[in-house]
Structures are given as structure tokens and as C-alpha cells.
Amino acid sequence: MKKWIAFWNILLKDMRTYYLKPPNINWGIIFPLAWTGMFLIRSGSGLDSIPALLPGLMAISILFGTTSMLAVTVTFEKKNSSFDRLLLAPISFDLLMLAKTSGAILFGIVNALIPILMASFIADIYVSSWPLLILAVFLIAVVSTFLGLLIAVAVSEVFEAQTFSNFFRFPMIFLCGLFLPVSKLPIFIRPLSYALPLTYGVDIMQGLVRGGNFMSIPISFAVLTAFCILIFGLSKHFIRKRWIT
């Protein structure tokens, strides 16, 4: 019970001080809007292409809402050593990391819902299974957030956290089939796509929104889950090593 009070208050504090700040909320709305607009204009195909764009948009919203947010906030707290307070708290590393990441995960999920809501106003969106779509959104948010955690462990300055996040994010936009199917990528680049968790998340969403998946959905779910566990484990290992020196 006691440790859940700690968990809940860490989450609440992060929500209040970081995620619910107006600049972040705007970012969550403007970013997907801008991308949608850009693609609609570029493709010139009008509203019919929205279902095809939606999975990529959702993925990009999650990616940009979580990875750098977590990396930056954790690095910031490390830097002014307020993070020591959390390390001194009588809760396990696992619970602490979950508390720190939960805020970003929730923020990522909300970010993904914005494009869906907007799209459903202007076009007919047919989703074959909402629960599976939400599960996919959840897992993508988790894996992107944990990636941010891994970045936070690797860097010691806030600006490094930002640059490093971009270093991962921008290639992922092109490699993970967000807007260009993986099958259209040069064959020698494709192994890289399969090594990135987002590829599987996007493929699931493609399948659920317009039946355009090229891998089996259960397998993609399994791979995505495995990535979550792997990245979390890695982060934890490095955190123990680097933060308690």
C-alpha cells in the first residue's frame, strides 16, 4: 500500500509539472495536425487517403510525445540531483522506473488518440478491432517511453537527451513503415527495419485500420512485448550501474 502511495504521487507530480503544461499539450495537437495537412496536400488524393495515413500519424504522435519527454525530464532531474530523492525512497527500482515512465506512456496514448479523433470527424474510419488497436497504441507508447529511459541513462546533459532522441526518432519515421511501406525500402536496409520495435507496432495498426499488414498480428504483438521487456531490462541494468556508482 505504502509503495503505491509513492508510485501514484511520482506519477501525479510528473503529470502536473511536465505533461500537462500548456506547451506540451499544444505540441500533442499541432504536430499530428501539421503532418496530416502536409501529407494530404502532398499526396493530392484528398480525404480518401486518411485511413492509409492514420497508423503512421498515430505512431509519430506517440514517438514524439514519449521518447524525448522522458529522456529530457529524467536527465533534468538527474542534473539538479532531485532524482536522488527518488533513489532514496524506499521503493524498488522496478516500481520507481514504472512510476517515472507511466506519465510518459499515458501522454503518448493520449497523443495517439488525437489523430484518431480528428480523422473520424473528416473521414470514415473503420477499425476491425478497437481493443487490439488500443493495445497496440499502449505497447508502442511503452516501447517508445522505455527507449527514452535508455537514452536518459546514456546521457548526462539535457541537450544531449534531446539530440539523442532525434537521432533515433527521425530514422524510425522512414525505417518503420510509418509513411512508406517497409516492402518499398531497399532490400539491404530492411533488416534494420525489422530490428526496430516500431515496425511491428505500425504493421499492427495498418492491419487493424485497413487490413494492410504484412506480418501476422499475433507475432507482431509478441515481438513488440518482447522489445518492451528487453529495453526495460537493459535500462534497469544500466541505471543500477550508472546511477548508483
Partner: protein, 327 residues
């Protein structure tokens, strides 16, 4: 020795940072309810020791037992029993004073009603009531210090680690703080106080360990530390000008006395007989050295510190002030 009433048992604790032996094989015990002083100059290893004892740093070797719980393997094992006031005021700049305290209490699983009550009580006790709803980032240095201390005790820890609590705050606040530390001590909290203020340690602590370059060079009650110098006489001499064989000449002339030469053209004379000043002054003048001051002193803890460590006591103070200004 009976170890059952010990709240802290540290054995052969060591930690290196590359070539630096920050903490070098130290051992000490702190009894339950005791106020134990950790006195040493900059870089002595005080903060590193506290970090290892609280779970923020991993020892290279040695054991730490806190309240009967062996924390050497699992530094988290006793964290629910301890409170820490770090040397840096590290609360959340974007939260108010009240929010900061409530958040810190929540980390220890304290319910909402109780933590709000405790936070208000502490803000009042620390004279921060007016600033309770202002952001911590806008606090003055002393206010930050006070809130950091409040945050360290809000969950009523059994063992409290204070790392230089009075550094950087004004005289009145420091005094109020010392009263507060005494109160916590009276209520039975076990306290480890790291400080470089000798008087502070002498006034507050039951026992003191002198730590220099990662080693404990002496450890005893204030009374016992002072006893060694009972019946001895001391003279402190400051002079202008220098002479290479000043030591040789003084020893030749005053064989029963001992001399310790400090920085800045000063030295200390120690003797078991009362010291007559004039012959010493004359001896110096014969060497062409001008005496600017010669005064008898009653040995204080400071003198004991100087004798044991060979360090000049106020080097600690000076270093610290420089640091304070640089910040």
C-alpha cells in the same frame, strides 16, 4: 562490544574514484539515539561515506548495518528507516515549498491528510509559512536549505543523515537549526552529522570522528578528546618575517616544549609547565623575527583537531567560504 543497541555499524568501508581513495577503510559505530559527528575538511570523504550509507553510492568493500539490517548487498533494505539531508538543496524547483514537502512525505507512503498536516507543521517551525505557496526555485539559499532539512525529516526517520546542514545560512537560522537538531536528538533520533564547523560538532555531538583524506584519524567523546590536553599549556604565536632555522633554534633553547608550525607565519607552543612568554619573544627577535601576537590559549576541540590531523583548523573554514562564494 555489544552491538545490539547500535543503529549504525560500519566496518572496513572503502571507496575509490579512479586513483582517489575517497574513503579508505573506515569503521565506526553509532549507538541508537546518539548524535555522532563527522568532522573533516573539504574532500575528506564525508559526503561519499553518507552516500554509501544511504544507498546513493556503492561501496568498493566493507559492510554497513543500519538498524540491524545489512545494507551492504541491498542498499534499499533500510531506506524506509532513514532520512537524508544532502549537502545540496535538491528539491523540485517548479513545486512550491508545501508541495515539495508533501511529495517527499508521499515517497515514504504517508497518507494525504497526515502529510499535509506534517508539512504545515514543519513550514511553521522553519519560519517558511509565508513562502509555503511560492515555488522552491525562487527561494533564497537559506530558505532552500531549511526546506531541504524539513524534507529530510518529514517522515520521522529513525536514523538521520545530515550533510553540512548549516552551511550557507545566516547566523540566526543556523542557531535555530542547531536547536532543532538538539530537539530531534532529545526525541531519540539517531543522527550522523557531517560538518566542517568544529564548534558546531563540539556543541552538539555526543561523539566525534575526525576524518581526513578518507581515514578516521580519531574517534571519541568530546570530553575524552579534550582530556588528552588537560593540564597542558598552549601558546599561539604569529610573527612577521621568516628564518629558515627557526624550528631548530627554538627547540635548542626550549627543550621541554614542543612546537608545531602552521601556515601563515604562526606556530603553536605546547608544554606541561606554564609557559613564560618573554624568553620566546626574545629568542625570536634575536633571529630578526618580529612577533605580532603571542597569546595563551585554553585547548579547545580545535586544538585537538590541529594536533591530531596536523592541519590548521581554519583551513577548513577558509576553503569552505571560498567554495560558498564561488557558488
Amino acid at each position: 562490544m555489544d552491538k545490539s543497541n547500535m543503529d549504525i555499524i560500519v566496518q572496513n568501508l572503502s571507496k575509490n574514484f579512479q586513483a582517489v581513495k575517497a574513503v579508505n577503510d573506515i569503521s565506526f559505530d553509532v549507538r541508537s539515539g546518539e548524535l555522532f559527528g563527522f568532522l573533516g575538511p573539504n574532500g575528506a570523504g564525508k559526503t561519499t561515506t553518507i552516500k554509501m550509507m544511504t544507498g546513493l553510492a556503492r561501496p568498493d568493500s566493507g559492510t554497513i548495518i543500519t538498524a540491524g539490517i545489512d545494507c551492504s548487498r541491498n542498499p534499499k533494505a533500510a531506506q524506509h528507516l532513514i532520512g537524508v539531508v544532502p549537502d545540496e538543496s535538491n528539491l523540485y524547483p517548479e513545486l512550491t515549498g508545501h508541495q515539495n514537502l508533501c511529495f517527499c512525505a508521499s515517497l515514504y507512503g504517508i497518507g494525504k491528510a497526515e502529510r499535509e498536516h506534517e508539512a504545515r507543521k514543519l513550514l511553521e517551525a522553519f519560519n517558511l509559512k509565508e513562502a509555503a505557496n511560492r515555488k522552491f526555485g525562487g527561494y533564497s539559499k537559506g530558505m532552500k536549505r531549511k526546506l531541504t532539512i524539513a524534507a529530510g525529516i518529514i517522515h520521522k526517520p529513525r536514523v538521520l543523515f545530515l550533510d553540512e546542514p548549516t552551511t550557507g545560512i545566516d547566523v540566526a537560522s543556523a542557531r535555530a537549526l542547531r536547536v532543532l537538531i538538539e530537539d530531534l536528538h532529545k526525541q531519540g533520533t539517531t543522527i550522523l552529522l557531517a560538518t566542517h564547523y568544529i564548534e558546531e560538532a563540539q556543541r552538539l555531538c555526543d561523539r566525534i570522528a575526525f576524518i581526513v583524506s578518507g581515514k578516521i584519524v580519531a574517534e571519541d567523546t568530546v570530553h575524552n578528546l579534550l582530556k588528552h590536553d588537560e593540564g597542558k599549556h598552549f601558546l599561539h604565536v604569529s610573527h612577521k618575517g621568516k628564518n629558515a632555522d627557526i624550528a631548530e633554534r627554538l627547540y635548542a633553547r626550549f627543550a621541554t616544549m614542543s612546537f608545531s608550525f602552521l601556515k601563515d607565519n604562526t606556530f603553536r607552543v605546547e608544554s606541561s609547565e606554564p609557559i613564560i612568554i618573554t624568553p620566546i619573544v626574545m629568542c625570536l627577535e634575536e633571529m630578526g623575527i618580529d612577533v605580532s601576537e603571542a597569546k595563551r590559549i585554553t585547548p579547545s576541540l580545535e586544538d585537538v583537531f590541529v594536533r591530531i590531523t596536523g592541519l590548521e583548523a581554519d583551513t577548513m573554514q577558509k576553503d569552505k567560504d571560498k567554495q560558498g562564494r564561488a557558488k
